[in-house]
Symmetry: C2
Subunit: 485 residues, 2 copies
């Protein structure tokens, strides 16, 4: 066995091949924002990207950003929002025990952050899309969380906060990254592609002073005069890490990430003295809400039990279904509410009665029948007496035939990415297990644990990646954060 | 902000106050076994204990050790067991994705490990206790997991594997540690108490070469010529760490640990380049199984739903109840099966009918009634058609009055300790995030993630602590594991 490869000491670096004030590792949304802000603060910035071009997983995303507190788009579309409402929702939805400092800072500065994105050239249309979270049109605003679902209206005034970048003939995620990369190019930032960073370099005072990478099979060392910012993605594409930290996530068919989401950034940070938190968590998408009328169905586990209000956000339903019910779930529908789902989803069973459906599904006799009977009893008056689904989504299921749409994790197109990572503060500073700064080291995006400890709302990942990426860029560029080299 | 304190470099150590081949940090069961084996392998061993005497959390335990594969006690009591049966059970019960290598090695060598404990002077009586996991008598063997509960009899032949140390007028945990400490004293091992280790020392090759501690308020450095073994407990007594990594555990009233379970060992290992895994997990004891007839009741969540076979082991019920049902659970009983529970537990509600009980509990109308009705339907024939509780534990609940025993986590004496920690291999070698050895560093006990990833059976903690503590002692003492200093 050799020694750990996650870190090098300065004495082990024979030659520096490049140098900058601030070294940004990874050029997705977080890295781009970090670079822009560091450059704007006067730092000489070098970005190292392992792929042939910038974009990262952000470019593959839906281009939706969770923003609020009263953005120009929210106001233009007639929705009221405030930093406090947004704070209250996120604190309640993103727990248990989400990072209050991060959420407070993000909510308080969110309008400014939206404006900054616009200033960078990221396009948003002043329009609201009411059919769901994902906007297949070029519309901007949508409800992308559980804001209107029980119990959140009792916690905070609902407002739509999903801000999808305006598509101009390309996917919104691609548009987002195209705009951000153009903004980077307007700064003096240098970019080197096909450079795969592998390890950080520490000096004798254990300050991070650079990184070692491979380029065309050869090792290259890059010196950072002020700081290194890890924006290298999560670890959903690293089978071994997923197995070690969050094995349940590996059941989902669609790992949302690029090859770069191999956890290297997280492991580099660990090697330099950082701590990881929430490594067991993921954003788990159970895609059963298109068309939106399907939330009138009943999501049940393998024993025919409901476990959540079906109009909770699809990631929240997905987390409950996978983490608490083994991913063995079905959506019970009748002939009245059934519409062809997108993505296409098969029936696990159909029956002329719930009893027959229950039998076909192999559920205990009476189990599903009891569930539907209890639901229908309240639904006659528009009430979900057990899980408090919103009245507009509540109708009795009584028109045969009945069906069970097969949303079991192995049969359905669940998608997932990792949410755990390096522990950082509101400046993007990487923290040790004792809560001390790992000097010279910053991180943002899914290399870190962000706003959502659990309980994901769509757009939060690009939101905290861009927001805390900017913070990291500013902090790394600041002289007063430096210890003497 | 200062720099991380979790690690020191050799150049920062001005004076070494002590020295040994092998430095063992912490003198609970893991540390004692590590010291004995290292000493028996010819190493000069020094144990540093932060308390005034050895014992640690092991001395506070029930003194139960999960052992099997055909131990002398199992055989004497007429139970058949094999390493393969034990392996099959543990692989199924301790997941998802428990460490197969650790479980295989432990099961294959478990009979030898039992014999070794006996050789060290740990007393076991050749007797079986059938009334529960915890043995209030001086008996030894009991079922301390879910071996006889669904689905495990279909996975592996059940055998009782809880081996409680024979009490001789003192608590079994105290007896265990008393015996092990006497065994340590029969070796040339040196012990220093009231020495609180704070950080590890690395040389330029990042090999662990010692530790820095405080003694009477002064800093002392100890050099380890061959290796350091961290046996410093878990982190249940560190509020901040619990909040960061496993906030749900903080709801349990009884944190099973000493002041030493502050996570210092884990943080020292992280600082030296080790990785943590499963930091979100805990052993969660929901104490509802004494007297054992209470498992004939129905454990339901706040919505009146059952979620598990009540005869699953109390830690498994506890994990499901806390992690998946928010700790809001009640045990529904009728006048026929009710017996006064130990520890004493209040009724949250009583009623002449289930309907009344349901109403008193504020559960949705029909929810608990449906649950009891469905259960009673099968129970008439001795069948739990939903969760497959064993027939001997299944009777209809139909004799009024009915009651809901209040096992909500804030009202009941749940106990808990942390299960996550440093990632180690079967030699107790601490591993980095890349799976490489952190040279010179070993760990065992609750400073590490052990046999149970989740799904605890009682006695596993002392089992893996003693077993892998021994392995770490042998490995640290071996010259061939050394890199040149």
């Amino acid at each position: 066995m050799g020694r750990p490869t996650e870190v090098r000491l300065e004495a082990e670096v024979k030659e520096w091949h490049g140098e900058a004030d601030v070294l940004v590792i990874g050029l997705g949304a977080a890295g781009a924002c970090a670079a822009i802000e560091a450059a704007n603060a006067g730092a000489d910035v070098l970005v190292l990207e392992r792929a042939g071009a910038g974009g990262g997983t952000s470019a593959m995303s839906t281009g939706q950003i969770y923003l609020g507190g009263g953005t120009a788009i929210q106001t233009a579309c007639g929705f009221e929002d405030s930093p406090d409402s947004m704070f209250d929702y996120l604190m309640a939805a993103c727990g248990p025990d989400p990072d209050e400092n991060k959420i407070r800072t993000f909510c308080d500065q969110c309008v400014e952050h939206f404006d900054w994105l616009v200033d960078q050239g990221v396009p948003f249309k002043e329009s609201f899309y009411g059919e769901g979270s994902y906007t297949p049109t070029d519309d901007c605003l949508s409800y992308s969380g559980s804001e209107r679902a029980h119990p959140f209206p009792g916690v905070a005034s609902p407002a739509p906060r999903g801000h999808t970048v305006q598509q101009e003939g390309i996917e919104a995620g691609v548009q987002l990254m195209s705009s951000l990369l153009e903004a980077v190019e307007r700064t003096p930032t240098r970019i080197e592609t096909d450079v795969r960073c592998e390890t950080l370099v520490l000096n004798d005072a254990r300050r991070v002073i650079g990184a070692v990478a491979t380029y065309e099979g050869k090792e290259r060392a890059y010196r950072a005069r002020r700081g290194v910012i890890l924006c290298a993605g999560g670890f959903i594409r690293n089978r071994e890490m997923v197995r070690k930290h969050a094995p349940w996530l590996s059941q989902c068919r669609w790992a949302m990430g690029t090859d770069g989401d191999d956890g290297r950034g997280i492991r580099m940070g660990l090697g330099a003295g950082g701590e990881t938190i929430r490594m067991h968590t993921g954003c788990i998408v159970l895609p059963f809400t298109v068309p939106k009328g399907l939330v009138r169905g009943l999501m049940v586990n393998r024993l025919g039990q409901r476990f959540i209000n079906e109009d909770a956000y699809q990631t929240v339903v997905g987390e409950a279904a996978l983490v608490h019910h083994g991913g063995e779930v079905y959506l019970i529908v009748d002939d009245h509410i059934y519409e062809r789902p997108f993505p296409p989803t098969e029936f696990a069973a159909v029956g002329e009665t719930i009893e027959e459906l229950e039998r076909e599904l192999g559920m205990p006799t009476g189990s599903l029948q009891n569930t539907v009977e209890l639901y229908n009893r309240g639904a006659q008056d528009g009430n979900d007496t057990v899980f408090h689904k919103s009245p507009e989504n509540v109708v009795p299921l009584c028109k045969p035939p009945f069906g069970a749409l097969d949303y079991r994790v192995e049969h359905s197109l669940w998608s997932v990415f990792t949410m755990g990572g390096l522990h950082t503060d509101v400046d993007g500073q990487v923290l040790s297990a004792d809560g001390k700064a790992v000097l010279g080291l910053y991180a943002a995006g899914r290399t870190t644990s962000g706003i959502a400890a659990q309980g994901y709302s769509s757009g939060l990942s690009i939101a905290d990646g861009t927001f805390f990426g900017r913070a990291a860029g500013r902090a790394a560029a600041r002289h007063d954060r430096m210890a003497p080299l």
